[in-house]
Symmetry: C2
Subunit: 398 residues, 2 copies
């Protein structure tokens, strides 16, 4: 039997190849600080669990394919509060932001089509694009420039007759870069001029640490038919296991097409949606507390990285990631060495080598992504281990 | 902006077009007996909710992409109990059976490829196939033959160089037909001989009312690499809103490819998986009780249909559907008439016109699918309404 040409283009999770090494390291009694994942340690608001405990129907039924109306209203109200004037009809509830991304790509991409994505980018994007037979056209960035890409000429240079969309993550995963309102406007203008979609993954919207106001590309009224917002409760409310996302677009035709996929997969989990409704009742003090915690963590990681010889990174402004270049030629080899040969007092660490965040062959080999989803003392210790490890690795290689 | 050629081939849910009529009928005070949906009224076992209430971690984290190991073990043990000797590695937990179907099609189909499906079939199948750019090649059946299709010559007549898979539903939705072990063996032999996959949607496995033992195409050891089983807790445990399905295959290469999609979408709902683990502890008496209830309902519907002049159907052997031909030229027009012009004592009914269960243009126009997911007295009353309506409709048309 043959497999589809599309699945053959898809890649495994970049983390997968390190799994045997982590198992072995832990068997040997090593403690590993896991800084490779995007799973926050912040408590899920208890309102979520309370709502689920209050469910007392005898039958757990399918929810409507577009989502439970009360959840759609909660999402609509959340957006209105940040200045995005959407209607309930503009919202489809999805199985996480992931399904919103997959369905968007399935609705707009044919084989040979192209999606422009600044690199480094979240690796699942390339699977969602490749699954349709289309390909990622990367906008290159550098660690020295803080992975900045929002330059009109740089974006337009990548547009071809096969370009269908520009996919941005704001705040950025894995880079932590945050786009200004002017930059968002410019990207939308490019999309309008060239008749493209802008797919804006804004799942980290609440996590901004500079003085930029929290924002969304959805605030612009003109050109709204070009905009698709990918959203999720996963990061916003530390409820990753709930699989409740949303696709938001004022392009009625696109929404109708995607509704066909929503109908075919029937519904999103009923209980998780009821929990998500309650999450949207959580007040601004919740976000302020979480933001301050992440900001403190960001500061620890960034300050320590700056003090390490040969490490290059800009100050991340949002999300909970920092990507940096290490003074090593191959970060994957360094990671394997950390798991197999190195320890400091029985402890070592795991980050995400950045090679798989790039589409351009040979790029990102020296770079890593660090997730600051551990508590502050664990982060202090992790940075200490990284510093010692870099020195030991240098000595080891000489 | 353009949309993908694939989404343009996908259809909306067939129910959608009747929605405005049902809203209007209910506004007028009509009571509608809904026999158009596959949402059972059977209670979800309380073990499901208890397991979720017992969850007390502070953070609702992502589950592993392949599924929670305890759930995978529960599914494996369930299969071993019915004689299917699979290993844990052969199982991927999915967002309902729907995701298992979509990912399978994405992994094996390219544009122009073909999937053989007996018609009438579950309409979402055509969306999952069309979403990849492939097409459905139907095996025609007739109401007179009880929608029987398991004939080697009839299946082989549909095989072309572009055929990649045979997709079967057993027990059948919408027909209620059940395949014998010999028939399953024959279909597998065809797949082996022609190097095809057999995708077997077995989500109604527990609901068989003749003397056939409950079975699975997974019991055959040889040719196991051709077999993909689609499974779900939705119907088995009346937990449709949980969105916990499974893809089971001993084809390691296929599983690895599909794992790429599982990793990209991260995980299946954590709490629903915990609930599903508890569901698999439910004993055989649960299934026996539910089966007897459905059998009694099936008997009511089938006996009444047989007594109606001009109605053609075979005795359905499984699932909770019966498809039949009515003495009307267009069942969709009859359905609209039922909602807009007819009532019996203020009551009317809704079924699923079968046209959209067919790929062949012009087929199924006079047919409907009835779901017997209402209690017995509601079913008695519904059949009474149908009989009166058919007489009134005949008079109305003369």
């Amino acid at each position: 039997m043959k497999f589809s040409s599309k699945v053959l283009q898809c890649q495994f999770s970049p983390i997968r190849k390190f799994y045997p090494y982590t198992v072995k390291a832990e068997k040997q009694g090593k403690k590993i600080y896991y800084m490779n994942i995007g799973q926050p340690d912040i408590k899920t608001p208890p309102e979520f669990f309370d709502a689920i405990h209050n469910f007392c129907d005898p039958v757990l039924e399918y929810a409507p394919s577009a989502g439970i109306p009360d959840l759609i209203r909660a999402v609509r109200n959340y957006y209105r509060n940040i200045g995005v004037g959407i209607k309930s009809d503009d919202i489809l509830i999805t199985n996480g932001g992931s399904e919103a991304l997959l369905f968007t790509m399935m609705a707009i991409l044919d084989e040979g089509d192209e999606v422009i994505i600044p690199e480094p980018y979240y690796p699942s994007y390339s699977t969602f694009v490749a699954a349709t037979g289309a390909s990622v056209v990367p906008i290159p960035t550098t660690a020295e420039e803080g992975y900045h890409y929002a330059d009109r000429a740089r974006i337009e240079a990548k547009i071809t007759p096969r370009t269908r969309a520009i996919l941005i993550t704001n705040p950025g995963n894995p880079t932590g870069t945050v786009l200004s309102l002017d930059e968002l406007r410019m990207i939308l203008d490019v999309a309008i001029q060239h008749q493209l979609f802008v797919v804006a993954d804004e799942v980290y919207r609440e996590f901004i640490y500079n003085d930029s106001p929290m924002s969304s590309i959805g605030i612009f009224e003109d050109g709204a038919e070009h905009v698709v917002i990918i959203d999720s409760v996963s990061k916003r409310f530390s409820a990753c296991g709930a699989r409740v996302g949303a696709l938001i677009t004022r392009n009625r035709e696109l929404r109708e097409h995607i509704m066909k996929f929503c109908q075919a997969r029937l519904s999103v989990p009923t209980l998780d949606q009821l929990g998500a409704i309650a999450l949207y009742s959580v007040g601004p003090e919740y976000f302020a507390t979480v933001r301050e915690e992440y900001r403190a963590r960001r500061d620890i990681v960034y300050q320590k990285l700056q003090q390490m010889e040969g490490v290059v990174c800009g100050e991340p402004q949002g999300a909970f990631y920092v990507t940096c270049r290490l003074p090593v030629s191959d970060a994957e080899q360094f990671q394997i060495w950390l798991l197999t040969e190195f320890d400091d007092n029985g402890e070592t660490l795991m980050f995400a080598p950045a090679k798989s965040f790039y589409a351009t062959p040979g790029k990102g080999l020296s770079e890593i992504r660090i997730s600051y989803v551990l508590n502050r003392s664990a982060l202090e210790r992790s940075m200490e281990i990284l510093e010692k490890a870099l020195l030991a690795y240098k000595a080891h290689q000489e």
